[in-house]
Symmetry: C2
């Protein structure tokens, strides 16, 4: 990987650290509007594709048969912070499928929200799989299985019918071949398939517009976008980029982070999809890059300016440095 | 920065992320035994030089005049996790100087130990400056000032006599000119001076051996090394690399992390100093590199093997990948 430096971390006037990366902005017809770095090497999109993985839940009719709310559909696309509302919604989804926390196969971890984690500790609690940032996605998988009359047990396996439907949707949307050779295991134990950034951006342009999709899928994509836009607090959490930006901009932007420095986004009005990855896996780098790209291509300078060049404050609140996009993104 | 890739992060068989970096292994005479990347560009060593910054506390006689224990001297060199023992020792140091938490100018943050943070939350507490990972270093500065009859107020300023003594020791040990032009502000508000990795490694070789140092400083360095070796739990915390490695290897290794992907170390028996920085600031990268270097140059394969190629486990405890040194470090 010899991708360009895309974000510099300044302390005082000096570059203390620097992040390399790649990214693509693609329209629904597959035309690349902008790219930097190697956007054809397959990378693991991780949680950045949860909205695409949620398509079968909607287009199968499972969400409607179980009566999922729009907030719950948003949670199925979330990497949530483990706040009370997230835990309650994941629990409610499982109840609608006739299951409970015991059906989740994602593993448990403390809420990623430090506030939520401390509140849980303060009341003497310990985390369950409901607090796992992926519990909404997993609850969605379980809802899909149950609504289809399938035993959800083992739904994280690539061979389970639910996971096969999820993988097929991801392959169709991105045009990427998702084979065992490009498969690894994600943090929550579901399959992680490597997909080029250019294909991911194309997939999100199609997700944003419905262009080139069968009508049922296009409707499902629009419904997911609307559900997320109406419930941005469900998708991440208080103070998180995805929640904050979609709260400010509503349905004009869809944005979703993934582990190891991945970010995918869409600009529905402009028919563009975006996908970036920091070579080193740094979230701060990917967030700065996606903010810079959304600002440039979406024209949201006022809203996204602060996210594209965030100051670094020390423990006394003194501004000691800043992040800044560099190179082709400067 | 176009330093080589030094650590690869694998998911399955595929490189998911990669870290670039630079590092140097230097002897006390200033001979470079091994180097990769640009080791002459000044970088901020951050907390990796706390042991050098603690030299004035010892060589001035301040530590003895105030009756600091060896554990407290170790804490003065620490980036501690905010465990109860760390907080108690920092508090005790301040009491010996006739001060309390109010004298600390480092700012407050929750313990970096999640266990300690949750325990604090569980008992309804909130963090103070004593929980700041730098509180031991700051308490040491305050002890130095008070023992010398100087008002500690403003000790974080580059112009305060205490900070001038600390800066002079750092400059003398590394041979680097520490000027206002290479100065920024650290996370705890003290000055952060940029110093080349080669000079840092040389400084730690001199710290490790006393070679070329005035007798009083050589004795102070030996005392700090002994204090840290006898109290490795003070320097970082449970499960942290520095604590674990020095618990296993005692005085044969000195190792200290710094923010933004810096690590410094010393092998006293071999007379070598080491300094590394990950370009992107990633701690996981710097830790893997320093472990690989200590394994290679120190011959501690059994102890350091697991740290130099740590597995990545997911939330279900499944091994989904690993970190591995690459390029010149493979």
């Amino acid at each position: 990987m010899s991708n360009p430096v895309v974000v510099e971390v300044l302390r005082g006037d000096r570059v203390e650290s620097a992040h390399r990366g790649a990214g693509a902005v693609v329209d629904a017809g597959g035309r690349t509007a902008f790219a930097f770095g190697d956007v054809d090497r397959p990378i693991y999109p991780r949680s950045a594709v949860k909205a695409l993985q949620a398509l079968p839940l909607i287009e199968s009719g499972a969400a409607d048969r179980l009566g999922l709310t729009e907030a719950e559909i948003a949670l199925a696309c979330a990497s949530h912070a483990g706040e009370d509302a997230h835990v309650a919604a994941a629990s409610a989804m499982l109840a609608k499928a006739g299951r409970d926390v015991g059906a989740l196969e994602c593993g448990a971890h403390w809420p990623s929200s430090e506030t939520a984690a401390r509140a849980l500790a303060r009341r003497g609690g310990t985390p369950s799989a409901l607090h796992n940032n992926c519990s909404g996605k997993h609850a969605g998988f379980i809802c899909l299985a149950c609504a289809e009359g399938v035993d959800p047990a083992g739904y994280v396996s690539p061979d389970h019918s639910t996971q096969r439907a999820v993988t097929a949707a991801l392959a169709d949307m991105t045009g990427a071949a998702l084979r065992a050779e490009t498969r690894a295991i994600d943090g929550c134990s579901i399959p992680a398939y490597a997909i080029p950034l250019r294909a991911l951006a194309h997939g999100f342009a199609r997700f944003a517009t419905g262009q080139g999709l069968p009508p049922q899928r296009a409707r499902a994509a629009a419904r997911i976008r609307a559900a997320v836009a109406a419930n941005p607090a469900m998708v991440a959490g208080e103070g998180r980029f995805d929640t904050e930006v979609m709260t400010l901009l509503g349905a004009r932007v869809f944005t979703k982070t993934g582990a190891e420095g991945v970010w995918c986004a869409a600009l529905p009005e402009l028919g563009l999809g975006l996908a970036v990855k920091a070579d080193d896996g740094a979230k701060r780098a990917a967030q700065t890059v996606i903010a810079a790209l959304l600002r440039r291509f979406g024209g949201f300078s006022d809203v996204l300016g602060p996210f594209a060049a965030p100051p670094l404050l020390n423990w006394n609140g003194i501004a000691v440095g800043a992040l800044r996009p560099s190179g082709a993104l400067a």
